[in-house]
């Protein structure tokens, strides 16, 4: 007997997962150290999509940097744009008009819904529920059509501008949006009936990836991933921007700190977002959509086409950039994934001296090594899904 034990020594196995793996949501690579089916250690490797956006941003003016932010978190490009313009506005010290603020809130919440839908679709697909994927994409297409109606693009929108938004929304858009807000709440139960009480879903999400509130804050988690652990941290409430202080909404939190609670949180957020949309539609004030601060914002297109002065003014703003006060500023906004922060160091020229992006996915990806340990290999997929990462934002 002794002899057999000597020959049959056991040791941990290293398994490589990714970067090309259908369930890693992009190009994440994990090296799993497993003992049988149990995970001993996980080492995430990121950087396969590092495009140098921070460096590129330093060579572009504040206006030109905006399209780069679409490509960060491409699932909710609109929220990223808003994060960027809110930060730049704070740096410039300008305030957009009311109507623009409400429109931004509308598109921000729409993008939150579309992000959570895509998250649910892929998360469910990874765990094995194909139908949810098709259902979610049906509604997502609807939202993308709405985006197309206001700015002509589906994914990389670049609609908000420093000092307001690019153009006013049409009545047609508002009508379709109203129809959407009426219809969408009836669609949420459709997804829920599919998975809420599904035995497989429960088995694979309840009690998986548990992280306590203190630990979650310590790891720097934000957004629904943190709120699933029962922490009331939502930047829309803490430091309101745009029109969030003028609408009512609740911040759902979880109690069990696991994957299932985070899923429930996001489902509730869908409802709350819809609620915000409805209020914005009701309260949408008339007026201009671009701040009238000639030193920092571009003149309206009609004027540029008609008279020389505005044309020259726009030319200078575009080529040289505005003259910005010197200083440094960090502004965070609540994007669907968590806290997106922009940190600018300005040296007085039209280009940021340093542009730093605090991406929620980057922090969330690092927590994987903590979440997966002790679970089975199959739960890695559930854990990757629950933290809701996008690698474009993680690697920048």
């Amino acid at each position: 007997m002794e002899k057999v034990e000597k020959i049959l020594e056991t040791r941990e196995l290293n398994v490589n997962m990714g970067p090309q793996h259908p369930a890693t949501h992009g190009v994440l690579r994990l090296v799993l150290e497993i003992d049988g089916e149990t995970i001993v250690n996980v080492t995430p490797y990121v950087g396969y999509l590092h495009r140098g956006i921070e460096k590129l941003g330093e060579s572009l003016t504040y206006f030109q940097g905006l399209p780069l932010t679409d490509r960060l978190d491409y699932v909710s490009a609109m929220s990223n744009n808003i994060g960027y313009v809110v930060a730049v506005e704070r740096l410039f010290g300008i305030d957009p008009p009311e109507r623009a603020k409400f429109i931004r809130t509308i598109v921000g919440e729409l993008s939150r819904i579309s992000n959570h839908l895509l998250w649910l679709a892929t998360h469910a697909l990874d765990i094995g529920a194909m139908t949810v994927f098709l259902y979610c994409f049906r509604e997502r297409e609807w939202i993308l059509d709405l985006f197309e109606m206001i700015c002509g693009a589906r994914l990389t929108v670049t609609y908000p501008r420093v000092g307001g938004v690019r153009n006013d929304v049409s009545q047609e858009f508002l009508d379709s949006l109203y129809k959407f807000t009426e219809e969408f709440p009836t669609r949420i139960p459709e997804y829920e009936t599919l998975i809420d009480k599904n035995r497989i879903w429960l088995k694979r999400t309840v009690g998986i990836g548990v992280i306590s509130a203190e630990e979650a804050i310590n790891w720097g988690l934000t957004g629904p991933t943190l709120r699933g652990s029962g922490v009331q941290y939502d930047i829309r409430k803490h430091t309101p921007y745009d029109a969030y202080d003028k609408v009512e909404f609740e911040v759902p939190i979880g109690t069990n700190c696991d994957t299932y609670d985070r899923y429930r949180c996001r489902m509730h957020e869908l409802r709350q977002s819809n609620r915000i949309l409805k209020q914005c539609l009701e309260k949408l004030p008339p007026g201009p959509v671009m701040a009238d601060t000639p030193k920092f914002t571009l003149p309206p297109k009609d004027f540029i086409l008609k008279d020389m002065e505005h044309l020259i003014h726009q030319f200078i703003l575009i080529t040289k950039g505005p003259t910005v006060p010197e200083g440094e500023i960090y502004v965070a906004t609540e994007v669907p994934k968590g806290e997106l922060g922009f940190y600018f160091v300005s040296d007085g020229t039209g280009k940021p001296y340093r542009m730093r992006i605090r991406a929620p996915s980057f922090v969330h990806a690092s927590v994987l090594s903590r979440l997966c340990v002790g679970h089975l290999v199959a739960d890695v997929i559930a854990n990757i899904g629950t933290i809701d990462i996008v690698l474009g934002e993680c690697d920048r």
Partner: protein, 190 residues
């Protein structure tokens, strides 16, 4: 399972300048300058006691900075002396106040103590800072490059690094190009 409550627990928000005063009181020799811009306050400090200062901010019940929002580096080549700054954005989820610490790091000795013992989430931020600026974090458990490949040369976010990269291609990519050239003769040509 979901409890929906309005955010109405009591909190004590502190003025950032008052926080800066407290730091100055506690560490008078460390604070170089306090700069205020658009309601945000940066406390410029020397790097030697960074862990002590952070521990004080983290543990003090009135300040209670439990959330490290961000850590990054800035390269002030030719603008300021010392050349680098490591920026800490601290936030208190409980009290909802924020402060920024700028720790000065010189070019000749690009090292600073790691604060991973206080915030676990800072681990990757420090690795990224090392990757991009070449600032070493003493006491970091696993200081490797994170975004770029292990054998990459140079530190991209330094101001003297060209945007389009150096002349010499990274060896890994050069290998791929080589391989592609070699295999081209096997491609179907129709």
């Amino acid at each position: 399972m979901i409890v929906e409550v309005n955010m109405k627990f009591p909190y004590m928000k502190m003025d950032p300048l008052a926080i800066a005063e407290r730091i100055k009181e506690k560490f008078p020799l460390e604070v170089v300058d306090v700069v205020s811009f658009r309601d945000q306050v940066s406390v410029i400090i020397k790097k030697e006691k960074i862990v002590e200062i952070c521990r004080f901010l983290h543990d003090d019940p009135v300040l209670d900075f439990d959330h490290l929002r961000d850590l990054c580096g800035v390269d002030y080549l030719g603008k300021k002396e010392p050349r680098f700054e490591v920026i800490y954005h601290l936030y208190s989820v409980r009290h909802r106040h924020m402060i920024r610490l700028n720790a000065q790091v010189s070019e000749s000795d690009p090292k600073i103590d790691s604060v991973t013992s206080l915030w676990a989430g800072v681990n990757w931020h420090e690795r990224e800072c090392f990757d991009m600026f070449g600032i070493k974090f003493k006491g970091h458990p696993d200081l490797r490059r994170i975004l770029l490949p292990e054998d990459w040369e140079g530190y991209p976010l330094r101001k003297d690094y060209p945007l389009k990269g150096p002349e010499k291609e990274w060896s890994g990519f050069a290998e791929v190009l080589e391989k592609a050239k070699k295999y081209r003769e096997f491609d179907w040509e129709g």
